[in-house]
Amino acid sequence: MNSSARTLLARTGQYALALLLAVYSAFPIYYMIICSFREPAVFYTSRALLPTSFTLEYYRTLIRRTDFLLQFWNSIIVASATVIVTLVVSITMAYAISRFKIRGKKAIIGTMLYAYMFPPLLLAIPLTSIFAVLNLVDTLPSLVVAHFTMTLPLAVWFLWGFLKAMPFELEEAAMVDGCSRLGAFVRVILPLSLPGLATVAIFSFLLSWTDYTFGLVLLSSDGSKTLPVGLASLLAGIDMRWGEVMAGATLIVIPLFLMFAFCSRYFVAGMAAGAVKG
């Protein structure tokens, strides 16, 4: 066998493997979308892998007869707030840790990683009692704070690696060129941190948007529920409304798709930078 034929074979093998993996992860999503459009009459009986019928009934029910839109809005608010708070706090913390001599710097970074290893459920109970004392239970800010406790450690850890790899001379050059320290941070460090910030934004959003545990523990009234909790309550009733659940799940995925579509370029760059230089 000559070498070009061997390359071709290797290529084909790689593509086949990639395709297999893609099908394996994408199939449940595909099937969920198919089901959300399948007519009620055949919902439980059809096993077809291709769309056989089309209806928007589940979407209509979901939007008209449940709190779906309100809960969608709640989720948007909580996730956006989590992303913004995480970005602002983590970049400033990471900058301080990477640039200044701080007593107990090692301890701060160590605790960060340790905090990240904590299972969320373990935090949920003490957090609930704290919020109870503060009269914050069943409010969206309490959920933002809870999500923030999960996102901050990893974000600081990640951005710290990112900033550490950025030469100090860049800021010094900016300061000699006429910036204050804050000016150098805003004009030089922030633009260069965009891939890192995009990565942090994506995973904070993902964590907050898909969180079920904290939502379930902290939120009780229908009006304040976020999407995952709200959707799950559709299954808790007397009749299992699988069609509506499929439709709701499909709608939940849309913002994630959009986010990845816009940020994946940065996301990949950020992951690579963190991995190699950090």
């Binding site: 030469p167 001379e169 860049l170 010094e172 050059a173 900016a174 300061m175 000699v176 060129d177 006429g178 910036c179 204050s180 000016g183 030089v188 633009p191 260069l192």
Partner: protein
């Protein structure tokens, strides 16, 4: 352009003193090179001039203004860093115009100044590129362009050539010197490379362990080193340093070889001392001292010979091509009027008063 004056300058990191009281006067338009081995405090001194390190004690003046407590941006200086420190997210033109933009200068005013600097440095074609699209030498030139666009009072260079390969380094060395001759801006240049210091400087400051060992023009330092450290640091190959005793106007090495001296002070007689002879100050001579050759290194223009003068190893540089082989004996004579004498304890030069 402005003179710079440094008085009693000290820098402490905790209990560690890295700059131990330094006085240097730099005239308007002068090119001063700070040179010394790594850890001698030269870079710290430069960073204190730039305002990137706090001053523990002493005073720095740029022009007539004491700048001790001014932030870097208010010192009217420009700095070129070892790793260039170009802003990766800005094009070459924006890198060069950044400081002017921060001064709130209009785009119409910035462009001609950037263009002029680009012309001087031959960067005209590269203005639309990003730093990552440039070679090392081009990046270095952009870093210099960023400095000259501002027309500052003082240029600071922090080992700007050490990331370049040998050939480019020699070319850039000449370019920086030519640039200085054109712009006549006061320049402070840090390097650990004594050849860079010798070839570029109007005035060299040799530093070691946070103190100034000697200040002078390149040839002053070469011809009249104040102490053993400067004698050994300046010049390549290094000055031969031979231990022995001054006796009756001549020098007797510990190995018993007698070397000629001229004009040794009377007071030096009988003192234990170090005899310093530059490699090129050994002559081949039929009535010279016998030395056994150990290594011969022809460089083309000259020949480096390592030999044992009695038991003392010495390095000689001859302009002529010699046919000696290791093991041969050659006869060499040091030039007495070019010999240096240093006190064995303090390392200071012993000179006739």
């Amino acid at each position: 352009m402005a003179p710079v004056s440094i008085k009693g300058l000290k820098k402490r990191f905790g209990s560690l003193e890295v700059v131990k009281g330094i006085d240097i006067d730099i005239a308007d338009g002068e090119f001063v090179v700070l040179v010394g081995p790594s850890g001698c405090g030269k870079s710290t001194l430069l960073r204190m001039l730039a305002g990137l390190e706090n001053i523990s004690d002493g005073e720095i003046r740029i022009g007539s203004k004491v700048v001790n407590d001014l932030p870097p941006k208010d010192r009217d200086i420009a700095m070129v860093f070892q790793n260039y420190a170009l802003y990766p997210h800005m094009k070459v033109a924006d890198n060069m115009g950044f400081s002017l933009k921060l001064k709130k200068m209009s785009k119409a005013d910035i462009a001609p100044r950037v263009d002029r600097a680009a012309d001087i440095l031959g960067l005209r074609q590269l203005l639309d590129r990003y730093p990552r699209q440039l070679s090392g030498g081009q990046r270095q030139r952009v870093a210099m362009g960023r400095a000259i666009v501002r027309a500052p009072q003082v240029f600071l260079f922090d080992e700007p050539l050490s990331n370049l390969d040998a050939k480019l380094r020699v070319a850039m060395r000449a370019e920086i010197k030519a640039l200085h001759q054109k712009l006549k801006t006061t320049t402070v240049y840090v390097t650990h490379d004594q050849i860079e210091a010798m070839t570029m400087a109007d005035k060299i400051v040799v530093m070691r362990d946070g103190v100034v060992e000697q200040i002078g023009t390149p040839l002053e330092l070469y011809d009249r080193p104040a102490n053993l450290f400067v004698a050994g640091f300046i010049g390549s190959p290094s000055m031969n340093q031979i231990r022995g005793t001054v006796r009756g106007g001549a020098f007797e090495t510990t190995g018993g070889v007698c070397l000629p001296l001229s004009g040794a002070p009377k007071t030096a007689d009988g003192r234990v001392a170090i005899y310093g002879a530059r490699p090129e100050h050994f002559m081949l001579s039929d009535d010279g001292l016998p030395a056994e050759v150990t290594v011969v290194e022809p460089t083309g223009s000259e020949t480096h010979v390592m030999a044992n003068l009695g038991t003392t190893p010495v390095v000689c540089v001859f302009r002529e091509r010699i046919r000696a082989m290791p093991g041969d004996t050659i006869r060499i004579a040091p030039l007495p009027e070019a010999a240096h004498l240093f006190d064995a304890d303090s390392g200071r030069a012993i000179r006739a008063a």
